[in-house]
Amino acid sequence: MALLDVEGLRVRLPTRAGEVTIVDGVDYHVGEGEVFGVAGESGSGKTISVLALMQLLPEGARVEGRALYAGRDLLALRGRALRQVRGRDVAMVFQDPLTSLHPMLTIGRQLTEHLRVHEGVARGAADRRAVELLEEVRIPDPEKALHGFAHQFSGGMRQRIAIAIALACRPKLLIADEPTTALDVTVQAGILRLLDRLRRENGLSVILITHDLGVMSSIADHVSVFYAGRIVESGPTRELLAHPRHPYTRALLDALPHPESEGGAELVAIPGAPPTPRRRPDGCAFHPRCPYAREDCLVDVPPLVPVSDGRLLACPPDPFASA
């Protein structure tokens, strides 16, 4: 049973040169206790699509579609109902913990303020909860940490704190937008392991956004690949990464350097560059860079259809079907 059902999500943002469609018709389902991976490059619309879920888009944004969570449409919530969902049912962790933690408020305050608003917890009890949360994310000396400020901690610690803040009210759904991108590689693994453990211990569902397929493969159960505002392929992680069927996904994987390839082998790059939201081509957005493009690819937007068990594909030519 799906925890979150997104249907027909379309987001348009105003720019100086007129309105631009960033997210162009996206559907997906996130199950309970599942890590749902969203892969794609910058400009593909992945961050905007989740910001839309929390209604945290910049002013003037227009959103279409539905996002059903426990029977309610998140996109239709307003005012008090919206504020109650935020932080309590659905929580978010942002990319750079140095900027997403308030520089002038203590860690303790940032951990407890929404706890006290959502659950009416008194100060002493809230502080005790905060200490427990910090222990869960393995921050040493949590009582002292409560009085600390964000800049006193290392990058990895800050992200752990951000995760603790997000989970304070025990939400069912956590959205993690590039949670490891701003961190050292050595620290990344720790954060991912933390997310995985928390997910298992709390029955948490996670929407994990990343452009790093390595990160995806380590903890995501399911992957959706975004390109130019649409989902081009999705399916269980292991299978999709082992046998990609969309030319874009395949090219992405081919571009990764392989530790076992011969020395001196060239890195394969996809020719061209992803289109900016304003200049998306007609038909399949990938067709200008696709060696398998047919005539209909230039005209029709390929629909995302099931091709085998649990796998969806938006590529009528389907050149790797047999794989």
Binding site: E41, A255, A269, I270, G272, A273
Partner: protein, 301 residues
């Protein structure tokens, strides 16, 4: 993951070119603030030039009118205590204040920018000296310093202007010094110099055009401020002396006869509109040339 972006084009030329085109568009009709500012400022400049032909009476010699007469058809702005037409005095006031303001800003800009550029470019003890000097000047509020200077040098137009120049040049020095410092260490200037451009060439072609924008904004806004300071000084009696038809002086007269509201109100209104016009202009220029502190894009993401 994908092939790199196309090679970057010559950054210096691109920057200049990008600056010039939007400027002409801004001056166009899209921005009401610019339009209003230009209209009012333009009107006052026209008045300043053509006052002798527009004004109905002579502001200094025509003292035969009924004194302290309220505004009427004959005397649109009324008359003052010496029987002079307030409208004429107000119109002629532009001939004193506006050129003085321009002079003040011009000289302060020259002195300040030169000192600031030198300080910013060469750094070290020169920079320290100039900065201490600006600190000292900033520590004295403008009017106090100006008052003391005019007290030392005597009252009158020249000394008032000198006093105000002393007070105004540091703002330019600070701005220019900061910009020059930043720009002379920027990557494209460094790379231009690596490619063989001489220090002077780098300064003129790459640094100066990018300094011009913020300085222009500062100068336009400063013009309004200069006029406020000038008329403030003459209000106190430390600037142009009577019977010169200067706005500040006229408002001072107005204070003595404040029941006759027209004597001081109209000259003051003139100051207000002129300064407002230049502030409007400066603010819309700021939108174009200095987006970080502009209103319309202030604090942008």
């Amino acid at each position: 993951m994908t092939a790199g972006a196309p090679a970057p084009s010559a950054p210096i030329r691109l920057r200049l070119w990008q600056r010039r085109r939007p400027l002409s568009r801004a001056v166009g009709l899209r921005h009401p603030l610019t339009l209003v500012g230009l209209t009012i400022a333009g009107a006052w400049i026209v008045i300043a030039i053509f006052a002798p032909w527009i004004a109905p009476y002579d502001p200094v010699t025509d003292t035969t009118l009924p004194a302290l007469h309220a505004p009427s058809w004959h005397y649109l702005f009324g008359t003052d205590e010496l029987g002079r037409d307030v409208l004429s005095r107000t119109l002629f006031g532009a001939r004193t204040t506006i050129p003085l303001g321009l002079l003040l800003v011009g000289v302060s800009l020259l002195i300040g920018s030169t000192l600031g550029a030198i300080a910013g470019y060469f750094g070290g003890p020169i920079d320290g000296l100039v900065m201490r000097l600006t600190d000292l000047v900033f520590a004295f509020p403008a009017i106090i310093l100006a008052m003391v200077t005019t007290a030392a040098l005597g009252r009158g137009i020249q000394n008032a202007v000198i006093a105000l120049i002393v007070v105004s040049w540091p703002s330019y020095a600070r701005v220019v010094r900061g910009l020059v410092r930043q720009l002379s260490q920027s990557e494209y200037v460094l790379s231009a110099r690596l490619l063989g451009a001489s220090a002077r060439r780098a300064l003129v072609r790459d640094v100066l055009p990018n300094v011009a924008g913020p300085v222009l904004v500062l100068a336009t806004l400063d013009l309004g401020n200069a006029i406020l300071l000038l008329s403030g000084l003459s209000f106190l009696g430390l600037g142009p002396q009577p019977p010169k038809p200067e706005w500040g002086l006229s408002v001072a007269e107005g204070v003595n006869y404040f029941q006759y509201w027209w004597v001081g109100t109209f000259p003051g209104l003139a100051i207000f509109t002129v300064v407002l016009a230049f502030n409007f202009l400066g603010d819309s220029l700021r939108d174009r040339l200095d987006p970080q502190s502009s209103w319309s894009r202030g604090g942008d993401d």
